[in-house]
Amino acid sequence: MRLLLVEDDLMIGEAVLDLLRSDGYAVDWVKDGEIADLTLGTQSYDLILLDLGLPKRDGLAVLRGLRSRKDRTPVLIATARDALEHRVKGLDMGADDYITKPYEIEELLARIRALIRRASGRAEPVYEHLGVSIDPVTREVLVDGQAVSLLSREWAILEQLLARPGVVMSRKQLEDKLYSWKDEISSNAVEVYIHGLRKKLGSHMIQNVRGVGYMVPKVDP
């Protein structure tokens, strides 16, 4: 899952970046509204964590631009502006959720998970697919009742593919979702993680569509 963090406060930005990364998200961090606008025009994200009081362009203007481009990326506003009018305005202008600073990091992470879950069209927190039970909160994966431990990158790929069963994702797309700008990507990294996943979950779980990419089938083939 790739997130965009829009935050001008260096201390807050650094801390959130570290916490999100340690939770397995690929995060890009921009520090002003103009760069946020530029970035959102060229790169797609699974979620945007948006501060409102930004230099050069206000967070609400960034949000307005995003929605006017028909971009449906979930937006979570995280700001110190806690007045009712601000919260209402933020949500009415197209944000999916609003959290005020200072917040608890657990709550921030839970809201991020909820927004991503909703964006992938699910409501149930724990779900089962092709005999594999998946809990996104604890990241517990059970195959035939047996717990399987995944590397964080493996988990990230599985999460991506499970979000849209039946949809094929190319290696490039997966890399995009897995790595932020700063990460070094080795050429065959995705293949390595796919290989690991098939070994742990069974080869039926992830299908290789030759020349196109990978997918989790909708039903057992």
């Binding site: 001008d8 807050i12 916490l19 110190a80 502006r81 600073k101």
Partner: protein, 455 residues
């Protein structure tokens, strides 16, 4: 009682009622007395006319007393007696009451049967004609008549009082309306009271009241904005602290923990700095504003000392800071506050000047004034932002986000400058190209200085 005498309406009513009652009483008294006097005169005239009507005389022995006696004759108001000048009685209307024949002609009085009679005697030829009237009876009748004259006044008084009450109420209705409007307000309802339809006497008062409302509202709004700003600004460092604590908790190894601790420490420093600056601002704003209690401050020596203090911080960033002119002169002020002011300006200059830059400070006389200038080779402030940089929590747009200011330093500078009646101007430095701030103080003559310098 206090409330009564302080109510214009009550006072008006009280005074007007008093005036009405007083004038009515005086009028009644005068009317009564006049009426009494007039009645007296009429009775006297009556007695005189009665006597005169008998002037032709009665035949001597023509009207002997017929012996008729009536008990009621005692109460006859008028007594008529005719006698000859040599003492022979010719006629007597009340046989039991003898009128004194030795009375002088004209109006006199005599006592008989326990009461006083008014007597009119007239000598006509050989006959003495006398008419007497009981004074008590006469007074009673006079009183009755006088009261009848006075009685309309007693009817008019309540009517007048009612009219006065009505007029006062109607006239004070606009004031009452304003009172109700103001009384029904909530504490934060500070909009203006309508001045329409108010009498000329109240309009200036209501106008001043509205001006006051306006001032209070501005102060109130400023306070509200300050609280909103402060809440917002306090939240960011708190949010950072919270996240940093989480980071520390999640740190997997020693090196990560060390980074987290360092970050937490700098987060605490930042929060501390902000709180200190907020307190400083609050303290300066609450400080005494009048010049009477201020001391004589030698500005040049103070600035020299502060430049020495900040030199190390400047040097660490390879910034060349120096005093290019240090003319001696005295200004009136609070040394501590002026210290904070100069310190804040120099800290700012050092903070926003890129390393390798220059900061020039000067203190010099200029006519009647004394001028402090600090200029730097930093990026300066765009003209559009210059008016707002002294606002609390205002940060110049596009400013590098790496510089952690509280946004309060210049607000504190402005507060202190205002306290000292100093003019604060900002612009672009001609010599260094960066930000330039100038403070112009009213200068006072040094030889008049009885205070002490701060060195």
């Amino acid at each position: 009682m206090r409330a009564v005498t302080h109510s214009l309406r009550a006072r008006l009513l009280l005074l007007l009622f008093g005036s009405v009652v007083l004038t009515a009483s005086i009028q009644a008294f005068i009317a009564y007395r006049t009426s009494l006097d007039e009645t007296n005169e009429i009775f006297d005239y009556q007695m005189e006319q009665m006597a005169l009507s008998l002037r032709p005389g009665l035949p001597v022995g023509g009207y002997p007393s017929n012996g008729f006696r009536d008990d009621k004759d005692e109460s006859f108001e008028f007594i008529v007696q005719v006698s000859t000048t040599d003492g022979q009685k010719i006629f007597q209307s009340a046989p039991s009451t003898e009128l004194p024949r030795d009375a002088k002609p004209g109006l006199t009085a005599f006592d008989a049967r326990g009461t006083t009679y008014k007597l009119f005697s007239l000598v006509a030829g050989t006959q003495l004609i006398q008419v007497a009237q009981d004074r008590a009876a006469r007074r009673g009748m006079a009183r009755k008549l006088a009261l009848r004259t006075v009685s309309p006044i007693f009817v008019m008084v309540p009517l007048l009082i009612f009219l006065v009450w009505w007029v006062v109420n109607v006239s004070l209705a606009p004031a009452e309306r304003v009172r109700r409007q103001v009384a029904s307000r909530r504490a934060d309802e500070l909009n203006e009271v309508s001045e329409d339809g108010l009498p000329d006497e109240i309009v200036p008062l209501v106008h001043e009241l509205n001006l006051l409302f306006h001032r209070v509202r501005s102060a109130f709004d400023a306070q509200k904005n300050f609280i909103a700003d402060a809440a917002h600004e306090l939240r960011s460092p708190l949010a950072a602290l919270k996240l940093q604590v989480d980071g520390l908790r999640r740190a997997a190894d020693d090196s990560a923990r060390e980074v987290a601790v360092l970050r937490l420490a700098s987060g605490i420093d930042r929060a501390t700095r902000l709180v200190e600056q907020l307190l400083m601002l609050a303290r300066q704003q609450a400080g005494p504003a009048d010049l009477e209690f201020k001391e004589h401050v030698h500005l040049a020596s103070m600035v020299r000392a502060i430049v020495g203090d900040v030199w190390e911080a400047a040097n660490a960033r390879r910034i060349d800071i120096g005093l290019i002119e240090g003319e001696d002169g005295v200004v009136l002020g609070h040394p501590d506050a002026l210290n904070i002011l100069v310190r804040n300006l120099l800290d700012n200059a050092i903070k926003y000047t890129p390393s390798g830059g220059t900061v020039n400070v000067s203190v010099k006389r200029s006519g009647e004034h004394f001028q402090f200038t600090a200029e730097d080779s930093g990026p300066g402030v765009p003209p559009d932002d210059r008016g707002r940089i002294f606002d609390r929590f205002y940060r110049v747009s596009g400013q590098q986000s790496g510089i952690g200011g509280s946004g309060l330093g210049l607000a504190i500078v402005k507060t202190i400058a205002e306290m000292h009646a100093a003019t604060l101007t900002v612009g672009q430095s001609e010599t260094l190209g960066g930000f330039k701030v100038t403070l112009v103080f009213p200068r006072i003559e040094e030889n008049s200085s009885m205070g002490f310098s701060v060195e």
